[in-house]
Amino acid sequence: MASDLARKTEEPQAPRIFRPTTKSPLGPVKIASAVSSVAPLLALLAILGILVHQALPAVKYNGIGFFVHNVWHPGNFYLQPVTTNGVLHPAQADYGAWAIIVGTVLSSLIALVIALPASLGAALVVSKLLGPRVRNTLGIFLELLAGIPSVVFGLWGTLTIGPLLSRDIYPIVAKHMPDVIILRWFRGSTGAGEGLLTSGIILAAMIIPIIASTSRDLFAQVPKLTEEGAEALGMTRMEVTTKVTLPWVSAGIIGATVLGLARALGETMAVAMVSGSVLGTLPTNIYSTFNTIAATIVTTLDSALIDGTGLAVRTLAEAALVLMLVTLLANVGARLLVRKVSTTALPVGRGV
């Protein structure tokens, strides 16, 4: 339809009879809009180029060890800077991002484990059990949730829900959790409310709008006749959902989930406020304080500026590059998948 529209506006056969002027009145608009539409592509390439350029010395100095070991030591700024591998750096500088990579992945996975069932359940109830008016009301809450600034999520997490959970909920869970694989992670010291689980909960609330609004739109696309047919065969509501509705839109939901994951991986401010911001230590249980790549960049960039050789800032560029490549892959993958199998496009930006 779009190409139809474009062709029709571009080849105005009939009007030319009435208007002998051959000058196309669309010229300037077309040029300005073409230039504007290239801007995002240029911005994307510029961001990638600048990051690679910034990160290169850090990549050379930190080597492969950056991904596998776990220290965050900017070096001794009082000693004479040293040159290694052709990179000038403060003496004894040593960077390993293993802990923040683990922290990023774990907190996002926790968020996904909470957000995916909550979003699917809410979207199913609203689109299959309740009427269209209620569907609209859920939309308002999702918009609100998507619109609340991430610092406000952080404020709520660090001053309200974190302390509440660590005082009333976490100790009970930790006490009664059996000492078996995975569940063992819920045992032990519960901390002061800043940590993996609290961050995961906050992140879940932040990515619910993306997953829930997309699933709601997807569920609306499932043909009524097919669902009614299944019900006529004697299936219960749940069976219709799990055997007809969900399989019909599964690819779209996977796409929305990956998009939500990408958003959780890159979320910065809220996590920086509820993670406890420790550097160089791996979490020991699900309540442990930790750090993510994005939160590390935002909390340490100003102190990194002290490093006269620039290695600290460039190391953050390397971390940012890793984060960007991961989210880029997730975004492209999710969009390709959804475009291939469904007419619903994934949301751009924050969802809704």
């Binding site: 105005p12 669309l26 809009s33 504007s36 539409s37 995002p40 359940g121 109830v125």
Partner: protein
């Protein structure tokens, strides 16, 4: 006969089990719905209850002084940055949407569209970092309004472009054909037919993009910097404050007044975002009412 009866009761038990499972699933769904609704209401109520009791005009009308004072500089800063984003990202985004819906086709279109969508997915701190090393450091702009609003614009242009493109594509072909039949040239059709009927959608997208930029922090911390002075209109070399910064720094200070200011700023942010969301809803409902009557 007996066997038949046995089979029937077995089926009966199975049906009961299936119905029970279905009922359980529905209650889980309702819990899920609550999980979606509760946080949004809780956050708004919590921030309002912490901010409102001590809210006064002085918070809005005096600039910050150390850990006290008010939020005037941050409010003006947020409004200034948002206005700048509306102009810069609004122009580029709408233009880009026009190109994608009217002129671009085939491979070019999908590459441009894909790049724009992927750009929106880049973590905000990464965009902020690049804004810092390029504009603030390499271009010698320093922390400034210009660096801040360009960084934010990069983040919201894809959103505006997408909503513009979608709204323009939803303009019925019959409108355009009718206009062609009446002898309008393409420029007139775009201006008076396509853009006019797509306007509500475009405006909604723009408003939501502004709501996003009002709430962003990470891209601004190292581009706009921070200042307690009232911002002025210079695009470079003058850092400025904004509301999200106040939330981010003041909550952690060992001062009751600072924490209060943090909640005040959070409250003002929520009010701004809610106002923008409401505005976008009003635009949508008015537009749909107009369509129904037409």
């Amino acid at each position: 006969m007996a066997r038949n009866h046995e089979a029937l009761t077995r089926i009966g038990a199975r049906t009961r089990r299936r119905k029970a499972a279905s009922g359980a699933a529905i209650s889980l769904g309702v819990i899920a719905l609550a999980l979606v609704i509760v946080p949004s209401v809780w956050i708004v109520a919590q921030v309002a209850s912490k901010a409102l009791p001590h809210m006064s005009w002085s918070v809005i009308t005096t600039p910050g002084v150390g850990l006290g004072g008010g939020l005037e500089n941050e409010i003006v800063g947020t409004l200034l940055i948002t206005f700048g984003v509306a102009v810069v990202a609004g122009f580029i985004g709408v233009m880009s949407g026009i190109y994608l819906s009217q002129f671009a086709r085939g491979r070019t279109a999908s590459v441009l569209r894909g790049a724009s969508e992927v750009l929106a997915g880049i973590p905000s701190i990464v965009v902020g970092y690049v804004g810092y090393v390029s504009m603030v450091v390499a271009f010698h702009w320093g922390f400034s309004l210009g660096a801040g609003l360009i960084t934010l614009s990069v983040m919201v242009v894809p959103y505006i472009a997408k909503t513009t493109e979608v709204s323009l594509r939803q303009v019925p072909t019959s409108y355009v054909e009718g206009a062609e039949a009446l002898g309008l040239n393409p420029g007139q059709i775009l201006r008076t037919i396509s853009l006019r009927s797509a306007l509500p959608g475009i405006v909604t997208g723009l408003i939501v993009a502004l709501a996003i930029s009002v709430g962003e922090t990470a891209p601004l911390l190292y581009t706009a910097g921070y200042s307690q002075n009232l911002p002025h209109l210079g695009l470079t070399h003058s850092p400025l404050g904004y509301l999200t910064y106040a939330v981010w720094t003041f909550y952690n200070e060992p001062s009751a007044r600072a924490i209060q200011l943090s909640f005040d700023a959070a409250f003002l942010l929520i009010v701004l975002v809610l106002a923008l969301i409401t505005a976008s809803r009003i635009v949508v409902t008015r537009a749909s009412r107009h369509q129904e009557s037409a």
